[in-house]
Symmetry: D2
Subunit: 303 residues, 4 copies
Amino acid sequence: MEIGFVGLGKMGTGMARNLIRAGHQLTVYNRTPEKAESLRGDGATVADSPANAARGTQAVFTMLADDHALAHVTFGEHGIAAGLQKGAVHISCSTISTHLARRVMDEHTERGQVMISAPVFGRPEAAEAKRLIVVPAGEHRTLERLQPLFDAIGRRTFVAGDQPWKANALKLCGNFMIASMLEAFSESFAVVRKSGMDHHIFLEIMKELFGSPVYANYGSIIADEKFEPAFELKLGLKDVRLALDAAMEVAAPMPFASIVRDQLISAIANGQEGLDWSSIALVSARNAGLPTREAAQKSGARA
Amino acid sequence: MEIGFVGLGKMGTGMARNLIRAGHQLTVYNRTPEKAESLRGDGATVADSPANAARGTQAVFTMLADDHALAHVTFGEHGIAAGLQKGAVHISCSTISTHLARRVMDEHTERGQVMISAPVFGRPEAAEAKRLIVVPAGEHRTLERLQPLFDAIGRRTFVAGDQPWKANALKLCGNFMIASMLEAFSESFAVVRKSGMDHHIFLEIMKELFGSPVYANYGSIIADEKFEPAFELKLGLKDVRLALDAAMEVAAPMPFASIVRDQLISAIANGQEGLDWSSIALVSARNAGLPTREAAQKSGARA
Amino acid sequence: MEIGFVGLGKMGTGMARNLIRAGHQLTVYNRTPEKAESLRGDGATVADSPANAARGTQAVFTMLADDHALAHVTFGEHGIAAGLQKGAVHISCSTISTHLARRVMDEHTERGQVMISAPVFGRPEAAEAKRLIVVPAGEHRTLERLQPLFDAIGRRTFVAGDQPWKANALKLCGNFMIASMLEAFSESFAVVRKSGMDHHIFLEIMKELFGSPVYANYGSIIADEKFEPAFELKLGLKDVRLALDAAMEVAAPMPFASIVRDQLISAIANGQEGLDWSSIALVSARNAGLPTREAAQKSGARA
Amino acid sequence: MEIGFVGLGKMGTGMARNLIRAGHQLTVYNRTPEKAESLRGDGATVADSPANAARGTQAVFTMLADDHALAHVTFGEHGIAAGLQKGAVHISCSTISTHLARRVMDEHTERGQVMISAPVFGRPEAAEAKRLIVVPAGEHRTLERLQPLFDAIGRRTFVAGDQPWKANALKLCGNFMIASMLEAFSESFAVVRKSGMDHHIFLEIMKELFGSPVYANYGSIIADEKFEPAFELKLGLKDVRLALDAAMEVAAPMPFASIVRDQLISAIANGQEGLDWSSIALVSARNAGLPTREAAQKSGARA
């Protein structure tokens, strides 16, 4: 298939590469062109605008950081909607608000184009390794037709329904589940450390108890305070805020999500904007009066 | 070994049976004697008091519901401390406060006896199947000597340290981790349902995402609202309260635990005291204005 | 002065009437024209658009329900900005987001007009009785010049600064203070009632303790469950959400505001959208398993 | 009347002095005898034990810091219950748990003595100035008979009911109301400061809005960060914890109280144990990344 791909960040690059490996013709666009160039060697064509990445394709993927970025590449004279032919599909993989998902769909529907949401679960390594979980929603027939594309980028597909925004709601709730695990670990580690124990013991027990690679992975990151950003904290805050907005739209309170939001805001207020979102643990540590590796580094830098 | 066992509830019975299967001589005691009698067939001797269950043994296990019950069987003229010989060990497996753990240890130490905490993770089926996770803490040598007993009841042992109460703190944090997962599921399911989706889809995604049997098991219980008690909600509240107390002792805030506590209290105020603690999900459902199977049954019963 | 006034709801009508009483010439506009007509008898001219209400005036007041309504009457070809002459002032009294305050100011600045924010504290009775607290922000000289207008509608003026949006931030925090009092009363009343006491005793003590008319007034409303809307709950939720947004913009967590937001959402999910925001107390009552007058009425209606 | 008085801290001293001024004969006891000695000049007799302070009196007041202290002076061979004659009254003014209130009452009832709870609202200055609010509960006739004593120490009396523990529940809820105001101020001030405004403006508006001396007083303390202890933060935490316990006993959730508890624990973890409880504001300030006077002093001290 002729496919467009807009948004070549950590996630998008791996996804695009897997689409190429599966035999598809890709035309790619990225705001900072260097990232697009790196895919030329893999056989991709590089476009100079989202509209041109979409032009002539049967489907165009988008994988952007937030609502603002997706709106920017979709609307306007150089946007995807301007370039996409009738009947072609915009496959929106970004983690965005349910509100924007509806706006994007309306725009495409008006132009005789098709929009589906297909958010994905997985960190950049999973995108690279074709191990994503894909959660598409939209017209049933379109989803069936696109299944080979989902297979090219992920390990499993779960259809969320026939309205695109619902997949976005599911994705936001899924990220909230992970964020809740991060906060639960953060609080437990603080208690364990202040009780005079090595929190790695607690981590080992939790690995055995939950038997989950996600717990093992994030638990280790937090226990070792290795917060190099795979998923930036400010993006995590964005997602929790969108989850709260999606929940408010349907009148459902989310007290845990509210706590996570507050902790992430505190993290940003204390300079962690660019760290991994798992560094939410530093908030619990500080509130328990614990020394952190971060603090140690800062005071080292000062000395 | 000659072993005493006090407390033959859902958990204790399975543990005691596995100790017998491993070739140990058991003297058992339970407040309601019927449960003790059922173990006679397996070869256990039945004692008429905690003191007599402890007398002459090298180690006596306790597996009780709460602080009150453990204090009752430990202290006083018919208590374990009164019957246990010098040098013998009280292995306390109950989920209790760190405060009581220290009091029990002081009592035994004064009498020349040894106390270790060895809380366990796992539901009654796991106790029966010798699949518990055992988290002992106490004198290093004693723990080494008792390892065969831990092997007889569980699948893995994690030593928490040399002070018994620390194992209790770890256990409380572990239960908090599970409770946090329950609440996170509860909030997500409410949002998903109010968005007009089948929450089982969300459950399937979470099973794939976390790859954890605990998520699969509890997620299904909540999704299907099958709240027959394997672990009663009032015991769940007790544990979260003890976790908060243990955290306050060491000056660590636990905002998630506070939320869980509030939700469980709301559950009790609305008649869920005897349901499984996973029925915490009904609180989020009610607060989102969702109909629940519980409500349906009640209104059916009224009609 | 020649003055425009847009937005004649419960608050706006009282404010407009007091401006007329102070001797100003008013041209008024309201979306539903009946409310505007009622002011004709007081001497106001009725305009057929926001632009026409603003045209020829030295200052135009707006007092609308939310961001959407203010944006609607400000922007576009029939909006205030299109009608206002250069150098004239838009006095925005609505409780709106800091974000919209900045957008409205930018629009007016571009057109050589002046914008100030002047949110007010007080319920409709206070607006009618010229007892509002006015919190203006904007150019110092403009504020000085407009002081007689503030005096015409309120009992005291507090200048918030020279950037209009800051007054909006202050107003949102002020409403949050009231909302926090409502929630604190709600929780206390629930505990007092479940302890088998008449919560009116507690109210009397709080009136004596705080010595505040606001406590006396709202405390009585809640104690008697008289939730006829003076300030609708859905508007209260809007304000708390905007406070949280304003706080997130500057990276400050607000855990109390998060709780209030969750409680108000639960209220809406349970049909209280149109009640007074003090009916947030019904959420604590339900979560404590207490019978409420609301529930009694509903079940009466069913029977 | 012949009156005993046990507990001569900041509050108790003022109360005792006012009883003497009202013409009563006082026998006083305090753990650290110096404080008792200072009342000798006012005409009090100094006893060497709680029992002796109670012996021969018609009523003995207690005003202690916490449950532990009250239990210590009440029970045991040198305790009040051992010294008090039949029919005489123990007037317990301390802020204690509902649980202990019931225990103390049971003890006195068994001995043919009478117990009433009479917790008070007011800071030390109010105790000194006879301006306390007194909230007694117990036998109706006893309360009537003791009214002159309540009049001697306070400005108003509110009878809470005929069971002593209920007055304690009311007192705990009242303290929670004040704590909620402190937290609401803390969050608002943090937002206002981070928005680049002087938070004293916000304070002035709140003083006008609420018209409450309590808001004016505590608001100024927080705004100026003058946290010399009139009511120590650790006592504030004790009270909030007791409020949560009292609420749990009757199955009522208190989400605001949970937040306050977490913030106070964070305060203690960061060295504020001995500051005034209004220093809870430093937690919100830190979580918003704001510099605090405390931090400035510490870093000054280090330099």
